[in-house]
């Protein structure tokens, strides 16, 4: 059962060269994905916060990643399950077995996992992939990108697209993995930033001319990777999240609105941040591809490392309401994970969902809401 070729490495595909590369990924009936690129992460089959119409009209998302345990339905991309066994020697054997089973029954493109073990512990499995199964699988999924350089230098493996499940912690890690030859990414920090109320603002390799509020002091000052939208300083700011950004959020709304929505805990705040953050990542990968095309990737990567801070801003505000599957129940009598948005004044039997202002009298008066009686 030969897998139709769905990936093309552009430029040199010499298996002996470890380095960044560009490619084109295609699945039947779907648009092409130029790589390096990323897949949006999903939860229960949905990209958190964004309805499919918002994704279609306001983002450049080219594909999504669904974890099997989330859903019984399968995506375009499927990869073998991560074994739960503690016995490392068993892990590779079992994965190989599972993969073979999956290949027999499959109707979709299947990515074979490369396990987060040292190469020796899974060499037999990897060699089997290279020698026997490479034609049948659609790609490799790496739980640890550091194993990339250890892969056997065979054309059968190097022509396969590489999916990173290695959870880069920042754009710096993405750049490092690209430089090792990774093609497709899943980026959990994107969702973490959105939930934390952080608007990502980084560009590759440097801020765009429009981003005037970012200080560049002779190249010595480091530029933050994002803006914490919980900060009250944004409350009256009519600036977009990022001045150079052309996403729906930045062209239709301003910081004051996002700040208001976060502090009012309105779901739209996270929707608008999610749109923007996905747009920033799409542009980031687009610039990386241009840089690869122009042959300036290594010097651009060095610039990026110098210009930008190494970590995302600290989370200062609260995230959206915690959803049931995000924590494990501790049994009866556990505390509520979500604070009530409003409390009652007086006994609980009065009204359901009462509304009590957070502010004290002086603040209320300042807000023009009512006046203080002496």
């Amino acid at each position: 059962m030969e897998q139709k070729k769905n990936f093309m490495v552009l430029g040199s595909a010499d298996p002996n060269i470890i380095g960044p590369r560009m490619g084109r990924l295609r699945f039947e009936g779907k648009d092409e994905i130029e790589t390096p690129n990323f897949l949006a992460l999903t939860s229960r089959g949905a990209v958190p916060h964004m309805t499919p119409d918002v994704i279609a009209s306001n983002t450049n998302i080219r594909g999504i990643h669904m974890a099997l345990e989330d859903s019984i339905s399968l995506a375009d991309l499927t990869y073998g399950p991560l074994p739960g066994s503690k016995r490392i020697s068993k892990m590779a054997d079992r994965t190989e077995e599972w993969l073979s089973d999956l290949l027999k029954s499959r109707c979709q493109a299947i990515f074979a996992p490369v396990l987060p073990l040292d190469f020796d512990s899974q060499s037999e499995y990897i060699n089997r992939l290279a020698d026997d199964l490479a034609d049948e699988i659609a790609g490799l999924a790496f739980y640890d990108s550091n194993l990339l350089p250890d892969m056997p230098a065979t054309t059968s493996l190097s022509r396969l697209p590489r999916l990173s499940l290695d959870e880069p912690a920042s754009p710096h890690h993405i750049i490092r993995q690209v430089s090792l030859g990774m093609d497709i990414f899943t980026i959990p920090f994107l969702g973490f930033a959105t939930d934390a109320g952080i608007a990502l603002t980084f560009r590759f390799p440097r801020p765009l001319p429009g981003d005037t509020d970012i200080p560049i002091d002779n190249g010595t000052a480091v530029v933050p990777l994002g803006v914490d939208m919980w900060m009250p300083t944004h409350a009256t700011s009519l600036l977009p999240l990022s001045q150079s950004c052309s996403c729906y959020t930045c062209t239709s709304h301003h910081r004051a609105y996002i700040q208001h929505l976060l502090s009012a805990k309105e779901m739209l705040g996270w929707v608008l941040l999610q749109i923007h953050n996905h747009h920033i990542l799409s542009s980031f990968f687009c610039s990386i591809r241009s840089s690869l095309k122009d042959g300036t990737f290594y010097s651009d990567a060095e610039d990026f490392a110098k210009i930008y801070e190494s970590e995302l801003p600290e989370k200062s505000g609260k995230g959206p309401r915690v959803r049931g599957y995000q924590y494990r129940s501790e049994g009866p009598g556990e505390e509520k994970k979500n604070e009530a948005a409003w409390g009652n004044l007086g006994p609980d039997d009065l009204v359901e969902g009462g509304l009590v202002p957070d502010e004290n009298a002086e603040e209320l008066e300042e807000k023009g809401f009512a006046e203080r009686l002496s």
Binding site: T51, D53, H260, L261, L345, L355, N360, A361, K367, L373
Partner: protein, 402 residues
């Protein structure tokens, strides 16, 4: 007083008191009868203003109480009002803020000056007056603003207090008119009070109509009174209101209530129910409400409502073709499920009112009403609600007729 709206009567039902009209407001025209979704804190529960626009909504609500607290008058002023804050090009209506104070703050106490309450944080006595409410609404810049009224639950047994509340609401209306800074840009609506006492309601109508506000609201309802009492109040008031002004019944949103109220001569409605119930996994459909959290929908691959033209249900170009099974899978787990149902429910309400309007214009509203109840109760006339049957009889429609 000056007005910033134009009311054009398009058609009148030849049987009931229903009317179809075009109401032109500072941010564009809207078609009456009309349902207005509630974007309490300057956002419609997870929908982008673009998505809200796509449902066909051209007039939504913001709550003055909430906006007065967050982001506050100062921010609203700097940002240039609620339209600028939320990037909404169309019309906004705001309430007075008084209703939330009275219904939700236990220690609130109404005096002639205004609503007195203790700051819940430091216990300082505070006062919200008609002047505060109007100043805030002027800063918000909404196209329709509401007077501060003295609201009592309609079921209150205290007749003396009810009369006092009605009379005070009239006096507060005068203070609101005097305080209103932008009558040429914002339309102040009065609010008829008087509980379930039809005589009080009549007096209030006469007094308030004399004040000549651009539009008129009927308030204090939807507070747990019997539906038949509700209908009597609406019917009584609409008979006393001027023909050429919009009539807004506050807090109404169940589909049966909407179509009956239109038949009784009301034009505008608002309610949080459609969007709130969406977040609980409930889809409003022609045949009733579906609770999509129920396991029977886990493998139901039909659209949320068959034949529905909303973005969520529609198949093909621009539609998502979302299935009941998908919403079931997401409901109460991922907010995307709530957003999808919110789109559907808002679309249902708006499209219901569009078909009501068409039926009025084509003078087949009584037939529309009969079909509406047939669909909703699966043709079983014995389960039609008595109050609706009775109310429609008073305006010449017999649902029981074959």
């Amino acid at each position: 007083m000056p007005s910033a709206l134009k009311y054009e009567l398009v058609a009148r039902c030849s049987t009931t008191k229903a009317r179809a009209a075009t109401l032109t407001l500072p941010h564009g025209p809207v078609s009456l009868p009309l349902f207005m979704p509630v974007a309490t804190q300057a956002s419609l529960k997870g929908l982008t203003p673009q998505q809200l626009e796509e449902t066909g909504c051209r007039l939504c609500l913001n709550n003055t109480y909430h906006l007065g607290l967050k982001p506050g008058q100062d921010v609203l002023e700097k940002v240039g009002g609620a339209h600028n804050l939320q990037g909404w090009k169309y019309n906004i209506l705001t309430d007075s803020g008084g209703f939330q104070m009275v219904s939700l703050l236990k220690l609130a106490n109404i005096t002639e000056e205004g609503v007195r309450f203790l700051s819940p944080h430091d216990g300082s006595p505070m006062l919200l007056t008609p002047e505060h409410s109007i100043a805030l609404q002027n800063t918000i810049g909404s196209d329709i603003i509401m007077q501060l009224d003295d609201v009592l639950v309609t079921t209150s047994p205290d007749a003396k207090r009810m009369k006092e509340a009605m009379e005070r609401s009239v006096r507060w209306l005068d203070r609101c008119i005097a305080a209103h800074a932008n009558p040429a840009r914002q339309n102040l609506f009065c609010i008829i009070q008087g509980g379930l006492d039809l005589e009080l309601r009549k007096t209030c109508c006469i007094e308030m109509v004399a004040r000549n506000t651009p539009g008129i609201a009927i308030g204090g309802l939807s507070g747990g009174e019997a539906k038949s009492d509700y209908c009597k109040v609406v019917n009584t008031c609409t008979s006393l209101l001027p023909e050429m002004k919009p009539r807004y019944v506050m807090g109404i949103g169940y589909p049966e209530d909407l179509v009956v109220s239109v038949a009784l001569g009301a034009d505008m409605f608002d309610c949080v129910w459609p969007t709130r119930t969406a977040r609980f996994g409930n889809a409003i459909t022609r045949c009733g409400v579906l609770n999509l959290r129920h396991s029977r929908y886990a493998n139901d691959f039909r659209p949320v409502e068959e034949g529905c033209e909303c973005v969520c249900c529609r198949q093909g170009e621009g539609g998502l073709g979302v299935t009941r099974a998908f919403v079931h899978h997401l409901a109460a787990k991922e907010t995307v499920g709530a957003h999808l149902l919110t789109m559907h429910n808002v679309h249902y309400q708006l499209s219901l009112m569009r078909s009501v309007r068409e039926a009025i214009i084509e003078d087949r509203f009584p037939a529309f009403l009969r079909q509406f109840f047939r669909d909703r109760y699966d043709g079983d006339k014995t389960s039609y609600p008595d109050w609706a049957v009775e109310a429609l009889k008073t305006v010449g429609v017999d649902l029981m007729e074959n």
